[in-house]
């Protein structure tokens, strides 16, 4: 058997432990899809796979037990899924055009969750559109609020929803619910002064607990959607670590531009010897220094006036 493993990997198939057998990986940006695609996935698994499907840790599907020679037929059956989920594709009918940049993960967001500050899937899809296909190893995740159910701090780019709370003092009845909630569940950024509530803007993390707690709608959400962007968290063998805050109260457009700029930065500085062309961005930053990264990342970015850049950044993590 002669198969080019480089080509098949780029095509989102996998070299498995079982000789002659591959697995197909389906990306689902933002982790949400119409249920009709499940029956298409089932059909591939039943026809060409071993009748099972694995739900991946990055919210995609992996169909194992596929013979290498069936890859073109699998790609044919993948086509309506790729089109339906609006995945950018270089050659129609030939499956995924890249696999390096991983599926963009998102928690369920404000489609369902009361805490979420925005529609996570919608933003995830917007990011996917901007970055895919790409061979570089980028991991991006979005989460609706600072609870961080999507564990975005374990990603190269972590995006956390923030709500800027607005206070209408004339609707406040001094019940204290917001102050109590913020203290118990969040960062204790509120205090009652003269029967009114004061918010410590530096402390506030934008979780929105005050808005949820207020019985009179004295607290509401500012309509502009803002986020906390964390960078260069990672799992892995060498030095797993949590992502650190890069910019707080930043907007969607800036985040997308920063991610795209980072692709340029990585292209320039990635270790040419990196195994499989894969190197966690954080190691590159360790080499070039944070300032160099920052220079590239913020090139032509028009940050909103709310944005707070955290600099310099030091990462900790586990050293084996």
């Amino acid at each position: 058997m002669d198969v080019n493993t480089k080509v098949l990997k780029k095509n989102a198939f996998r070299v498995t432990k079982q000789r002659g057998i591959t697995a197909s990986r389906i990306r689902v940006p933002g982790g949400h899809l119409e249920a009709k695609y499940l029956s298409m996935i089932q059909k591939i698994a039943d026809t060409y796979g071993n009748g099972t499907v694995h739900i991946t840790s990055r919210q995609g599907f992996e169909i194992p037990g596929i013979k290498y020679e069936d890859m073109p037929k699998v790609n044919e059956l993948l086509q309506p899924i790729i089109e339906g989920l609006d995945i950018n594709q270089e050659v129609p009918g030939q499956g995924y055009s890249a696999a390096g940049t991983r599926n963009v993960v998102a928690c369920i967001g404000n489609k369902v969750c009361p805490y979420a500050c925005y529609d996570t899937t919608k933003f995830a899809k917007r990011i996917e559109k901007a970055i895919f296909p790409n061979d570089l190893h980028f991991k991006i995740a979005l989460t609706g609020c600072p609870n961080d159910c999507a564990k975005v701090r374990m990603h190269d780019f972590g995006i956390m929803g923030m709500t800027e709370p607005r206070y209408d003092r004339d609707r406040c009845v001094s019940c204290g619910a917001c102050v109590k909630k913020c203290k118990k569940k969040s960062v204790a950024a509120l205090k009652a002064v003269n029967y009114r509530v004061q918010r410590n803007e530096e402390k506030c993390i934008g979780c929105g607990e005050c808005v949820l707690a207020c019985p009179t709608a004295a607290w509401t959400r500012k309509q502009e959607k803002l986020y906390r962007l964390t960078i260069f968290g990672r799992t892995g063998k060498k030095n797993p670590r949590m992502g650190e805050d890069f910019i707080k109260w930043v907007d969607e457009d800036s985040i997308i531009k920063i991610i795209l700029n980072t692709y340029d930065y990585v292209k320039k500085y990635i270790d040419p010897e990196a195994p499989g062309g894969k190197e966690h961005i954080g190691y590159i930053v360790d080499r070039t220094g944070f300032e160099e990264f920052k220079k590239w990342a913020l090139k032509d970015v028009n940050l909103p006036s709310t944005a707070e850049i955290c600099t310099p950044i030091y990462w900790k993590g586990i050293k084996y």
Partner: protein, 338 residues
């Protein structure tokens, strides 16, 4: 007399009105809900008819206009007091039948309950009410059972039709203005509902013994004493006083009154630090019986108007109407215990 209007015509009327009145109506506040990307319907000042939300029940009620959530009554220095100014203009308030019935309850408490409340009166006197007809009941409404589904005591009514608006006017001063801006004059009868999905059974033979029933206990754990049910209620009238001393100069300040809730901690606190109703179930009991029992003993009709807002808003899905419907069994329970 009845009138029909084009949008332009009614907006002209609004323009004229706004010389003497501030027009308040239920308005959709985009993104104003507690959850992100959700709206809320609240009473706000409006200028044009498009701003009125005719199709959805408002989350908060009109009462905020007559009885502001937080209202400064006067300012004080060491030896002087200055009354806070009242609104210069009158208020035109758009509201539904149940809410107009609620105005009667507010009047009862603030104008006819032994003395006249000056601050309420000065807004109320200059108030006009425009009835929004209801073509069908909303979820949780039980106005028919509370006899509040219909009302004649409005200044005017307004309802959208397929290609404009129709109004029944009872305010003599407005006749000419309306005549000049209307398309035609025909009889108009405001819509009202005759059927609701929710029904309540307020049993005869309620007595204070009902307080001993076990039915209240489940609310001890279910209710989180947030007070939302009170704050959205068009008939809840409780307030508390706050004296504020300006921080730069501890000797001058202001007195405000602020809505209060019998469900929220602090309501029954007394000097010395104790509090009468600690359990949420007992607070629920107090609230429910006030709405459908003891108010009536005093004034001859129920306080609750059946708008169902308390059910709409409760984050714990506690239904006031469902609670009323447990009373009959509870009476049997307490009578059987004797």
């Amino acid at each position: 007399m009845g009138f029909s209007f084009s949008k332009e015509g009614i907006n002209n009327v609004f323009k004229e009105w706004s010389k003497d009145y501030i027009i308040y109506a239920p308005k959709r506040i985009i993104g104003g809900g507690a959850f992100s990307d959700t709206d809320s319907i609240r009473y706000e000042k409006i200028d044009t008819v498009d701003e009125i939300e005719f199709n959805v029940k408002s989350t908060f009620s009109f009462k905020e206009i007559l009885l502001p959530i937080s209202q400064t009554l006067f300012f004080f220095t060491e030896d002087e007091v200055k009354e806070a100014d009242g609104p210069k203009k009158g208020a035109i308030i758009f509201l539904r039948s149940c809410d107009l019935h609620a105005v009667k309850r507010l009047d009862e408490i603030y104008l006819r309950n032994g003395f006249e409340d000056y601050y309420y009166k000065r807004i109320r006197e200059k108030g006009k009410f425009i009835l929004i007809g209801c073509k069908s009941a909303f979820e949780n409404c039980f106005c028919v059972d509370m006899n509040t589904n219909k009302i004649d005591a409005y200044d005017a009514s307004l309802e959208p039709t397929e290609n404009g608006y129709v109004m029944d006017n009872k305010c003599q001063d407005w006749e000419e203005l309306l005549l000049n801006n209307s398309l035609s004059q025909d009889e108009v009868n405001p819509s009202y509902v005759t059927e609701t999905k929710i029904h309540v059974n307020i049993p005869e033979g309620l007595s204070i013994d009902i307080a001993k029933s076990k039915m209240w206990d489940e609310y001890d754990s279910r209710c989180i004493n947030c007070g939302r049910c009170n704050f959205v209620c068009p008939t809840c009238t409780c307030f508390t006083m706050q004296d504020i001393f300006y921080t730069d100069n501890g000797k001058v300040g202001e007195r405000r009154r602020v809505h209060a809730s019998c469900m929220v901690d602090g309501y029954t606190d007394v000097a010395g630090g104790s509090s009468y109703r600690k359990n949420n179930g007992q607070r629920m009991r107090f609230k429910v019986l006030h709405k459908i029992y003891d108010y009536k003993k005093r004034f001859g009709y129920h306080m609750c108007v059946g708008c169902g807002r308390c059910d709409d808003i409760c984050p714990e899905y506690i239904s006031f109407s469902n609670c009323i419907n447990k009373l009959e069994d509870a009476i049997k329970e307490v009578n059987g215990n004797e």
